[in-house]
Amino acid sequence: MSDTSAPEAPTALPPVKRRNAELVLIILAVVITMVGIAIAGINLNGRVPAATWTVGLTFGAFAVAAHVAMRFVAPYADPLILPCALFLNGVGVAMIWRLNAITTEDIERAGVGMQLVWTAIGLICCFLIIVFMKDPRVLQRYTYISALVALVLLMLPALPGLGHEVYGARLWIKLGPFTMQPSEFAKIALVIFLASYLMSKRQVLQIVGKPIKVGRFTLIELPRARDLAPILVGWVLAIGMLVVLRDLGTSLLLFGTFLAMLYVATQRSSWVTIGLVMFGAGATIAYFLFWHVRARVNIWVNAFDPEVYEQVGGSQQLVQGIVGMAYGGLFGTGIGAGKAHQIFAADSDFILASIAEELGLTGLLAVLMVLLVLVERGMRVALASTGTFNKLLASGMAFVLVYQTFIVLGGVSRVIPLTGSTTPFMSAGGTALMTSWIMMGILLRISDNARRPAPQAIQDEGATQVIRR
């Protein structure tokens, strides 16, 4: 890594817009959503439900509106991001409709709850960000404020009176009739904080260090003790989340994002190593000290033990999800033809298990591929953007998406212990959907800025140089 201090040159891209390609892909996403609802209706009731048109076309209208807005406010933004996000959102809507339909007496009256409303709100947030945040670097000003906001948002549910417990996890707050999951917004604030903090401190974190050598080989480059402070704070917070709020999902997300961005900023793998070792040690100690951490691990390892299954808060939910996936097999039961509604939280935390059952391994892999494309486009935005802050912000957001998917699907399919977490764009739930769309807004804005052709100087009568944008 010899090029560390060299100024970052923006990767040159020709000023292609590809908005028409975007439109085609968006229409495809909308058609897939409508076909999903239609097939679900046929499987459940024997005929195409009206929701194919009511829900499908409303969603389609939102999607096309978003596309049209893009042509005006961010014409150079990456053309794949919006279709991918809309596809995931649409498949989520179709699945939620199907899950609602089975519990609704008259299938024609089944809706998707607030999901369409939240989609609209999310898209509007996305639009507003693109319009009003001309340069995301303004966010740099709010380094510590965003840190504070992130902290407050994370801690809100712990407040008595405001906090609201659902299925044993204290992640929600209740304001009148609305319940919100503030930790979702905290992710954004956290990424903003990390991006601006690391931008100002990266030089120090990057260069100063003490190599530990074995013979000629540098084993690891240890940072100075005082530079360890931020990682220590991050670690204390993550372990604190795990122990106090009993929220393994957010804890993992927090610390993982932190390490990833630290690595991107400093280019030093020693940070990651130190961080992983610390988290491993902390988690191990927590495992031995706290029963709820042990319970989580036990459910993960011994999910198919009848005793663990029967326990209150045992592995029942996890097993239901896996059984659903098993029923899905390679090609799925067909949307609406399976029993995905028997899976716990089939429309939120376990929505990928519902997809796996009804669309099969094939459908699940398709959804994962689209998510992967979305994420890699996000990384591409980071590569193409100018300025350390933008790069950190974009890669941070892309990473949050991947990491969240990994935590939730990894939990559902038993790669890691199951922790409550939402699937980006798909899970029913307003806060999560809004957060995802806000992140898309920021990504699209950075992308638009990066890919927009440089302003051209025009010589015009005499000495005055006019810059035209």
Partner: protein, 481 residues
């Protein structure tokens, strides 16, 4: 910084690869074994779309499936049960989220997936005939079952159980557990929510209607266990009906042990026969002490106590215990079926049946024949010996003494059937509450036993003769008259 962003995106790709490989493993390779796991509770609801075999008692369906789908719609089989709660403890229920009784134990036969039906299944695939489950014929005798159930219903608010065996074969003629429940209430596939709510209500019912007391609840057998103690005395000490044993009015066993009637033989030594007849406590405590802990426990084991492996009929039967006691005081009480001795009603029925069948205990069973849907016999249970409890001569002496119980001046006169000799033994078991458990075991006719019974009225608070003997009598009458 672009280098690290590229590395990070490769790392993201790797995370997705891990996920993709894992879901491929789960959905592609593990799927079959996951579906077969008993924790896959859906396999019960899944099979609602296939015709399930009936369960029969005396040739009549007590559980059967019927297609309730509208014409032209795909088949949906609803399980129906006849006779309310009468057969539920044995037949069980086939719910969306699990099954109990024979419905659970013989699930693979009833739904047609059992290997024993493999040839038929293969034939069905070739001929294109829709596969059907096998039908199961139970050994239960409807008259015996009904008599026992009605007798408990007449008692009203008492819980309890009764088991009747054919002593010669081990066939279970009756297995009553009271209270029971109507399985129809928990199996509806058209009103799932009510079905689940009803089941939850049953689960929370303090009278535990879901528990099959006949096979799965242990009680102190009290004086009915004196039959085992007497058997041990005859087998190990060469005692006979006339052998005498000290029978003080009060025997000091740590805490004083009195006799139920005050005195057995005016404080003088009492014969074994008389001690059985009037159920003398102190003499039997002394017999147990003379026999010794090891011998007493061994004798009990020969009747089926302390089993090495769980007995299945094919429902699992809870173990009954009569452990080896070394302490004199505890051993004395074990001799009268208290302290650590605990027995299921089925186990005590096996004691009665063993005595009735010349000392030979037959393996109890409740599934008689399994027939394929074309009525060809798949399996037929043939009687087999479970254990040799006592010699034929010991059995004869025990029978002789037990007949006295239902005779004049006996302790179990309520079990007497006019014109027929009935052998029996009452029991009134202390259980730490004010209300005793009330027992009766016996068989009839004494010279040619056709039915052996054990009845327990939980927390009856009366005597065995008062509460349990009439129930036993009506069940026996169902066969011998």
């Amino acid at each position: 910084m672009n280098t690290t962003i590229r590395r990070l995106s490769i790392f993201c790709l790797l995370m997705f690869l891990v996920l993709m490989v894992n879901v491929t493993w789960v959905q592609g390779f593990q799927a079959q074994s996951i579906l077969e796991d008993p924790l896959n509770r859906r396999q019960f609801s899944e099979r609602l779309s296939e015709p399930r075999g009936p369960i029969q008692v005396a040739g009549e369906n007590v559980a059967y499936s019927e297609d309730i789908a509208e014409e032209g719609k795909p088949a949906r089989y609803q399980r129906f049960y006849n006779e309310g709660g009468l057969y539920t403890p044995i037949v069980g229920s086939f719910r969306q989220y699990g099954a109990s009784g024979i419905e659970g134990a013989e699930n693979s036969l009833l739904d047609g997936t059992d290997d024993r039906l493999a040839v038929r299944n293969f034939r069905d695939i070739i001929t294109g005939r829709e596969p059907e489950g096998a039908q199961i014929q139970l050994t239960l005798n409807p008259d015996v079952q009904q008599a026992g159930y009605d007798a408990f219903a007449a008692l009203g608010d008492k819980n309890g159980a009764a088991v009747a065996l054919d002593p010669e074969t081990g066939a279970i003629l009756g297995a009553v557990s009271y209270p029971s429940y109507d399985a129809n209430e928990v199996v509806s596939i058209t009103d799932e929510i009510t079905a689940v709510n009803n089941y939850v209500e049953l689960e929370n019912d303090p009278r535990k209607p879901l528990l099959n007391r006949a096979l799965n609840e242990r009680y102190a057998p009290g004086s009915t266990f004196k039959v085992v103690t007497a058997a041990a005395a005859i087998e190990y000490l060469d005692a006979g009906p006339d052998s005498e044993q000290d029978a003080p009015d009060i025997l000091s066993l740590g805490v004083d042990l009195p006799n139920a009637m005050g005195s057995c033989n005016g404080g003088a030594p009492d014969t074994l026969a008389h001690s059985i007849q009037i159920s003398c406590n102190t003499s039997f405590a002394n017999w147990a002490i003379d026999v010794g802990g090891e011998n007493l426990s061994e004798q009990a084991s020969k009747f089926g106590f302390n089993p090495e492996e769980t007995l299945t009929v094919p429902l699992e039967v809870t173990e009954s215990y009569a452990p080896v006691e070394t302490d004199r005081n505890i051993l004395g009480r074990a001799g009268i079926g208290q302290s650590n001795v605990e027995s299921t009603p089925l186990q005590m029925a096996m004691v009665a049946a063993g005595v009735a069948n010349d000392g030979e205990v037959m393996r109890p069973y409740v599934v008689d024949t399994v027939r394929d849907s074309d009525l060809s016999v798949v399996t037929q249970t043939s009687p087999e010996t479970y254990s040799e409890a006592v010699s034929a001569s010991t059995a004869e002496q025990l029978t002789e003494m037990m007949v006295l119980v239902t005779g004049t001046n006996g302790s179990g006169t309520n079990a007497a059937i006019p014109g027929i000799e009935v052998a029996g033994k009452t029991g009134t078991a202390e259980n730490g509450t004010d209300l005793t458990h009330n027992w009766f075991i016996g068989f009839a006719p004494a010279d040619d036993p056709q039915i052996a019974v054990a009845v327990v009225v939980e927390f009856g608070g009366g005597s065995g003769n008062e509460l349990a003997a009439p129930i036993a009598r009506s069940m026996m009458e169902a066969v011998v008259q």
